[in-house]
Symmetry: C2
Subunit: 247 residues, 2 copies
């Protein structure tokens, strides 16, 4: 039987999961989808994603693919998976792609968004989808820092201590901050790739600047230093969304 | 010690609770707040609310009050409660009111809002805060039905079968529907009071009209009939918000 390569675009609310990647003794998004696919195709399935997301992190459009000998049409996968999956995972699109397609290796860029609510009172209906910060943030200074990130840099200062020994240079294609009069902040980062916890470490350091505990120049120095100990603390996971993956 | 009367304005995400009212063997919003107040005042506390909300129903501004001999100032109750309460209950305001104030008996009107998402794809991040309806709704016809509700009517057709033997006449002060181009619908109802499940029964019947399974005239006949069996099914709880109580 000819092998087919099926690409999925999926959204998920990461609140209940220990992240994307399959683990022993912990519920993960990959495992849940693989199990449903195995039921449908009557064979074990291995899902390849554009990258893992951490526990509590969400996706608006994660991309993954799997190879199968099953003859189930793409739109039947779409309907079948959405009927079988729990309500916090939703398959937006299913397409059959050439066998050479690989969700991770062929990704040209990824877009992440980090959501902050900067108000006195919390928004309890969105508490799993943003970082609530009570003290006032100087948004203009945070924007200045973001523009320093554009282009190619060594992001060692913003990579997680436990991350693998990989090339720390990444190319930031877009770094922007939007804010509205209700105190809602949206930090958007697009890059050819991200180091482990890179967005959350950048956001944590931006918040230091916004809070007046670090100068914009200090942020520039942290980036240049390559020293993780100089950066701010990692922002919490629930504000982070994988928005899209480009190929 | 002089007794004081303390009024609370609270917001809650009702997802995790078996409604407002204290029950045996089930977590309720009333019980959680009463327990925290008992810790603070070192005495049992009985909370009186403007009315109960069902399991899964939310509040933007529920009003309740309690009598206490405690000398804790109002703003210390605000800070203390918010430090002790779980993240899905938030106290927005605490004021000391005259002893005669009664959250239920003195309420002049209540405003409820029901949220519907009328799109092909679900919004999984708001799945606990709206009713997702896939088939297209004729919003204009639903608006026509809502305008029929204004004024005083016998709402027996929209009261729950198990509700107490009470006067079924209510005065609807406002009944309106807002919708946007993203398929988000908001049905707002203000009345001097509501029968049990009245908003959800009205919304369920409105959706019958919006779906083309009932005429606007049929809706008028249901209201006039006083017969619950003619109305549509009760809308699910998670789309319903108690917005405000007026005194």
């Amino acid at each position: 039987m000819a092998l087919r390569n099926i690409k999925l675009v999926i959204a998920y609310d990461g609140t209940r999961y220990h992240g994307w990647q399959r683990q022993k003794n912990a519920q993960t998004i990959q495992a849940v989808i693989e199990e449903r696919l195995a039921v449908m195709t009557e064979a074990p399935v291995m899902l390849l994603a554009s990258g893992r997301t951490d526990a509590g992190v969400h996706a608006l459009e994660q991309v993954c693919n799997f190879k199968t000998a099953s003859q189930i049409p793409a739109d039947a996968f779409l309907r079948g998976l959405n009927a079988l999956l729990p309500p916090d995972i939703f398959v937006k699109k299913v397409t059959e792609v050439p066998l050479a397609f690989h969700s991770r290796y062929l990704a040209k860029s990824k877009i992440y968004e980090y959501r902050i609510l900067n108000t006195q009172n919390p928004d309890l209906f969105h508490r799993h989808m943003l970082w609530h910060i009570r003290f006032p943030l100087e948004v203009e200074k945070m924007s200045q820092c973001l523009s320093l990130l554009k282009g190619s840099h060594d992001f060692s200062a913003f990579k997680s201590a436990g991350s693998a020994n990989q090339n720390p240079v990444r190319n930031i294609l877009n770094a922007a901050l939007e804010s509205d009069e209700d105190g809602f902040l949206r930090i958007v980062l697009e890059a050819d790739g991200f180091l482990r916890h890179m967005v959350r470490n950048i956001v944590g350091t931006l918040v230091e600047v916004g809070a007046g505990r670090m100068w914009v120049n200090g942020f520039r120095e942290v980036l240049a230093s390559g020293d993780r100990r100089l950066a701010g603390r990692k922002a919490p996971p629930q504000g982070l969304f994988l928005v899209a993956v480009k190929y």
